[in-house]
Symmetry: C2
Subunit: 192 residues, 2 copies
DNA sequence: GGCTTAAAGCAAATCAATTGCGTTTACTCC
DNA sequence: GGAGTAAACGCAATTGATTTGCTTTAAGCC
């Protein structure tokens, strides 16, 4: 987390952190992300505003921390028996989650309240970890597979770029085509 | 621009817009991006703060508008006589400008104060336009060239993804490799 | 040239952010 | 396990940003 060096990780500090994060999540769903304010979060969390300002610095940094938590994958990628199916399914789900209104808001929050870039790096690390699982499962089966960096460049980056810069006209077919172009899986790779 | 529907585009409105934008640019270089405030900009621009709040909504949206202006390319891509050289040079320069401290700040500002995504879309359109110039020059010479969307996916998106999410370890060699991998220009395309 | 109304100015009121200082309490070192 | 130390929190006062109702200006249109 941005400002949380956690020099004192237990007891009251931990309780404050937990109740503040919970307050953000509750209020996000009750009043909406844009209506949040530090005093509002503080009151819900049973804490004074100055505590939040001193620990997180600003609302943006607090939201960035919470957003990264929500972007953490909860499950391992499904196993469909072969790399093309695995990677396609993962890319489709990634796109689905990230391009939703909520997903885009979390990505933006994670990027924006992030002075040192550690939260953004964490988001990227989550994706790389999931991709790594898919790829090592493939090599374990004896399939040939590209390395993680290549998948980040050819699949994850284009998806994220379009989510952030050109949200219109994104669909699962686009995700499928990125994976097919990378793996050379079908004969229609020049079909755009 | 985000909130500027420009229902009344001439005269005083235009002067206010120009003087506010100028004030932002001047103050950015004088006191730094992080010290800016709406009242400060308003005073420099000879305008009342409420004018800025009503026209732009917040400091974030104003900075977003100014950032997009600064991200507009000022020159056409150089002509080196062949597509690989043209595209490589353009990608290197793009990376240089965008990955600088100032460039990253502008990208973040452009994304941040952008409720409807139009400013982000404009950034992407600038890059697509430059790429389009390079590619159509190539086809004009009789070279075979990928289309713009492919270059966006294979070159622009990976560069931007890394600038935003993993700024460490970015260099011109990476940009060159992305272009070479796309164009099949050298025998070492698997050199990572 | 007069009419209409979007946009700007002004000023009061509200709300968020900052800061100094006293208190609580988690961690460390006997 | 019992001080000692300093980090983290609470409280309250202050500062500064934001919002809002109302008035004034001037751009665009007959």
């Amino acid at each position: 987390m941005s400002r949380n060096k956690m020099a004192r990780p237990g007891g009251r500090s931990a309780r404050v952190q937990a109740s503040v994060h919970t307050a953000v999540r509750e209020l996000e769903s009750e009043v909406g992300r844009d209506a949040l304010s530090v005093p509002m979060v503080a009151e819900r969390a049973g804490v004074t505003p100055s505590t939040i300002y001193r620990r997180w610095g600003s609302l943006a940094e607090l939201l960035s921390d919470v957003a990264v938590e929500r972007l953490r994958p909860e499950t391992r990628p499904e196993d469909h028996g072969a790399l093309p199916a695995d990677l396609t399914a993962w890319a489709e789900e990634f796109l689905d989650e990230m391009s939703s209104t909520a997903g885009r808001a979390y990505i933006r929050d994670a990027l924006l309240g992030d002075p040192d870039g550690s939260n953004a790096g964490q988001c990227s690390a989550y994706a790389a970890e999931q991709v790594g699982i898919v790829l090592s499962r493939a090599t374990g089966r004896g399939e040939t597979a590209p390395d993680v960096e290549t998948v980040m460049d050819r699949v994850v980056a284009p998806l994220m770029y379009r989510i952030l810069f050109r949200p219109a006209g994104l669909d699962t077919a686009y995700a499928r085509r990125l994976v097919a172009d990378l793996l050379g899986t079908d004969g229609a790779s020049g079909d755009r």
